[in-house]
Structures are given as C-alpha cells and as structure tokens.
Amino acid sequence: MSTSHAEHDHEHGHGSTNGDHVPHVLPFKVYIGTFATLLFLTVVTVAASYVNIGHTGNLIVALLIATIKASVVALIFMHLKWDHKFHGIIFVSALLFLAVFIGITMSDTEFRGEAEAIEAKNPVDLKDPFKAQRTGDIAIPKEIAPAAGGSAAPAAGSAAPAAVPAKH
C-alpha cells in the first residue's frame, strides 16, 4: 500500500543519486535523421495531394503522413521516447479526449434528422422558413396538391435555397 511513492523517479534513467539533474544527450545524427525524415514526408504529402485518389483517400493519406510526422516530432524532438511514461500518457490522453470530443459531437451533426427527410441537411431561409410551402411551388399537401399547376410564379426575389423537398 505504501510502495508507490515517487514511482517515477525510479524509471527515470538519468537521475543521479545525489539528486542533481544530469541530461540525456542524443547523438547529432538522430536529429539530422529526424529532420531529413520530416522534410521528406513534407514533400511526399504535397506530392500526394496532386494525385487524385478520391477525397476520402487524399484525406486519409494526408492525415496518415501528418500523424507520422507528428509522432516523429513528439518522440524524438520532444524526447518523449526517453521521457517518463507518464508524460506520454498525458500527451496521449489529450488526443484521446480530443477524439471523444470530435467523435461524439459528430454523432450529432452527422445523424441529425434521420427520421425526417425534411430536416436533413436543408438550410432554412431564415427570413421566411416556409416560403416554398406558402408560394405553392413545392410541397403542397396532397389534398390540394393536384391544383398547383405549372403557372405558378416564383416568389418575389426568390433567394430561398433549394427549397424543402416534398414530403409525400
């Protein structure tokens, strides 16, 4: 029950016994190698954006390369690879919570109005949300719909976006 005190001190490879801080210096070639990798990946990601493999495909490739680059920066430039595990946990938990935030929020925005054809993805004209219905071009309820004929004139200054589709 009482052994876990200051647990991080022990896995910390470079703490000297007298408590002085002793740095952990990486060889120069590690840095130059990392730098070269990052430059190379930058070129690759720009080049890949010129190759059309579908919007989703391009997005996945771009994000994949960005993630690799970011991991390299975090692990080597930011010394996470040699750092306390706890710092890595902190960093990863940030990404985890970000994923939760984006993921659950999108469970709303991507699935709104599933049951309602009229709601889905239809921006409303704020000044007159039901203009389309009232002018009679669209979505006249079926009892009286047959009467709405071709002579219907468009509404004044019809700025209404692609009005609401018919429900029936």
């Binding site: 029950m1 935030f101 659950i104 925005t109 049951a115």
Partner: protein, 545 residues
Amino acid sequence: MANTATVDELGHSPEVQGKNYLNQTAGVWSWLTTVDHKRIGIMYLVTVLVGFGLGGIFALLVRLELLTAKKTIMDATQYNQAFTLHGAAMVFLFIIPSIPASLGNFFLPLMIGAKDVAFPKLNLLSLYLFWIGAVFMLAAIVTGGVDTGWTFYVPYASGVSTTSVISATFGVFVMGFSSILTGLNFIVTLHKLRAPGMSWYRMPLFLWSLYATSIIQVLATPVLGITLLLLIFERAFHIGIFDPTLGGDPVLFQHFFWFYSHPAVYIMILPGMGVATEILTTHSKRRVFGYKAIAFSSVAIALVSFLVWGHHMFVSGQSELSSAIFSFLTFFVAIPSGVKMFNWLGTLWGGSIKFTVPMLYGIAFLFLFGIGGLTGLFLGTLSVDLHLHDTYFVVAHFHYVMMGSTAIAFFGGLHHWWPKMTGKMYDEKLARVGFALTFIGFNWTFFTQFILGTRGMPRRYYNYLDQFQPLHAFSTYGSWVLGTGFLITFICLARSLKSGAPAPANPWDSTTLEWQTQSPPITENFEKAPIVTLDAYERPAEETA
C-alpha cells in the same frame, strides 16, 4: 497520535512560538507579492466570498422579483440581467474556484507534507488572472450588464443581445486560464512533492478529489477557451461558425460549451465530495470506509464526466442517436456517485459521531446531495426529460447539487479548517443557528421549485402564470431565511477573527497531516519535513487499543 514526532501537544515549539504565515511579514504589498500557497489560498477565499455575496444579492433580487406574477421590483430587462449575473457570478466567481482554489490551495501542500505547491509563482499568477477576469466581468456589469444567461447561447449572445457580452465572456476566458494553471499546479504537486512515506493510497481523500478535479480543469477548460474566443469573434467580426444566417450551426455552440461546462459541474462537486469525506471521517473518529472505492470513484467521475455533456441537449435539435448515447452514458455517472454515498454511510457506521458544526454541514451534505443526485435520474431519463427540461425542476436539481452540495460542503470545510487557517475558534452556538437557517431556508426555497417544475413552470421567466404565484411566493420567503442563515454564518466567522479563542493545533482530533502543525501554520508549513508512517485516517496502535 502524531504522525510526526516533532510537533508537541499544543503545536507550538519554542522556536516558532507566535510565528505563523499571517504575521511572518506585514503589509498589503507582502500579500500581493507572496508566493505562499496559504496566503494565496486566503486571498482566493476572500475573493470567492465576495463573488458569493455578489451572486447572492442577485439571487435575492431574482427571488424578490418572482414574488408576484408580474412586475414586482424590476422590469424584464433588469430581471434578465439579474439572473444572468447571478448565474455567471455564482458559477465563475464562486463555485468553480471555491473549494479548489481556496481550501485546496491552502491545504493541498499541508496534507501531503510539502512546503508549497510545485510552482508557487504560477500559483500567484493564476490568482492575478482570476482577478483580471473578475474585473472584466464586473466591467460588463457596469457597462450595460449581460442578459444572455450564463450559458451564452448563440445566436442570442452572438448577434441579438445588445449588452456587454464580449467583456463578460472575455472575463470568463481569462478566468479559465486561472483555473487551468491551478489544476496543472495541483497535479504536478501531488506527483512530485508528497512527503516521504506519503504514498498515493495514504493521501487524504480530499486530495484524490482535487486530483480528479484538476484533470478536468486541464482537459476541459481549454475547450471553453476556444468556445468563448469563437463567440467573441462571432460577435465582433461575424465569422459565421455559429451563425445560421451564414451557414453556421448554433447547436454546435452548445456542444462546445457543454464539453467544458458539463465536466465543470464536476469541477464544482468533486472537491465538495472530498471535503465531505474529510469532515465525516474526522468528526466520527472513524477510518474512512472503502478508501480505494472513494478514491477511484472520484477519478471515474472525472473521466465519465467527459462523455455525458449532451444530456443538456436532449431537446436542442441534436440527433436522436446522440441523445440516446448521451442518456446511456449519463446514467453511469450515477454509479460512482452512488458508491461514494454508500461508503460515506459506511464510514458513519460504527463510528463515534460528534455533532460539531462541520459535522452538521457534512450530514446536511449527505441529505442534500442525496436529493440532488437522485433527482438527476429524472433528467437523465430521456422521455421524462422531454417534460422537465428547462423547467424549474432543472433549476431545483442543480441548486441541490451546486449549492446544496458544493456550497454546503464549502461552508462545512470552512468551519472544519477555520481554526487551522485563522488560528481562531468560532462561536459554536451562533454557527449552529447560521447552519440551521441555511439548511431550512435552502430546502424551503428549492424543494418548492421541484413542484413548480413538474407542473410545467419554465425557467428564466419574468412574467408567469398566476397559478404558479403561491409556490413562487413560498420559494421567495424561503430565500429570505436562506439569506439570513448565510448572513449569520458570515457574522459568526467575522466575529471569531476579532474575538475568537485561540485554536489548538488539532481541535477535532484529526489524523491528517495539516493538523500536525500549529494553528495557524508557519510559512514553511512544518518545522521539520514530516515522514509518514500511517494511512491517512489510521490512528497509532496505542490510541485505538
């Protein structure tokens, strides 16, 4: 019973006789430039009490206005500003910083046997940021008020309201940084500065709750920052992200806002739970029942709190899928809260309960949190929320949690640690009167509102149906009792500063480290760094025998 051998019975060894953190140095400047966590804690305490007073005055005005169904003392514009400022002051100036920043700052290092928090200067900076934010909020009051509700929902707050929304939101934005820095400081302190022998499982449970709170502060507050920044830019430059006329999404704002503000509810309640734990165990002389369960339930609440924000949005127009997911996850916050409740009762079982003033607050906390927590089940149940959402039921529910639980725990903690902080004992009789009026007045005011809510009374209404008038008036009378209770409590505490008897080092016979130094403590907290050999609530063998 002392965990450390260096402190004598009275807590005053010859070397430190008469010296303490209060009289070490003198003058306003010495306070404004201090890096002593205790002084910073005291300054926070004074600030949040002022915030509480401010919010309280607005609360009484709101209740007074609602005495009659039409105009009583103010017009609709003033009423809307009054309830907005009541909410904003109570949430941002009082509850969020109340326990962590004042009691937490003061006692966290003491309880782990450290000399200070990990970053003392950062601690002072966070206090200054808090003040700066508060100034912006007060500036908003002076320059036209705010009438958006404390939630700042768009498009009303971004486009329609003509009040000082930018000043108020910027104030909250700055206070957010203060909150982040405090949380960050606490996490590092708990990781790095525990005294020798003070393992994680030997920490007082108040610290576990502060640790969980800090996690939320660090992870959630930045999202509030970006939300408010976007709101400010929306209002000032019409960037359109939340503006439906420009293709933006007002419901998205609610996601952003509640991603912070729901976890923030746990920033408010978790420390209160921690304080209650300390009070219940100390004043019943009983070791905490289910230490690990209480500790882990704090962390569990913190983590689950990030997954449930959408239960504020069941009728907002979010997708049905989201609502279902959020409702399901919401119920799981009830589990760790329930576990705590059971373990608190387990702690009282087989104890030796003394009804001191802090203990009265502790027991009141159990009662009020019981109601506050259980009524949450109504709101988490999807179909029932259809009826209860945005009615007085919700108002009553969150007042039971925020005020009935957190504020009561805060005042309980204040009475519990007052002797340690000030070195003075207060008048027990007067404190009991204050407590009794607060407790009665609180239930009187807010239980009534459950009835109003289920009967369909919507919140934030200036004019209301005549049929609700008797209940509203009843609730208003209760608020006067409640206000009187707090007034008496304040008078009692203020009087003790002047004429209270000197406090012994450990008046409650507590086992935790903060009581093992003198009252009030010296600037360095302990004469000699303590070495911990027992669990937090464990008494030495000769004493229990």
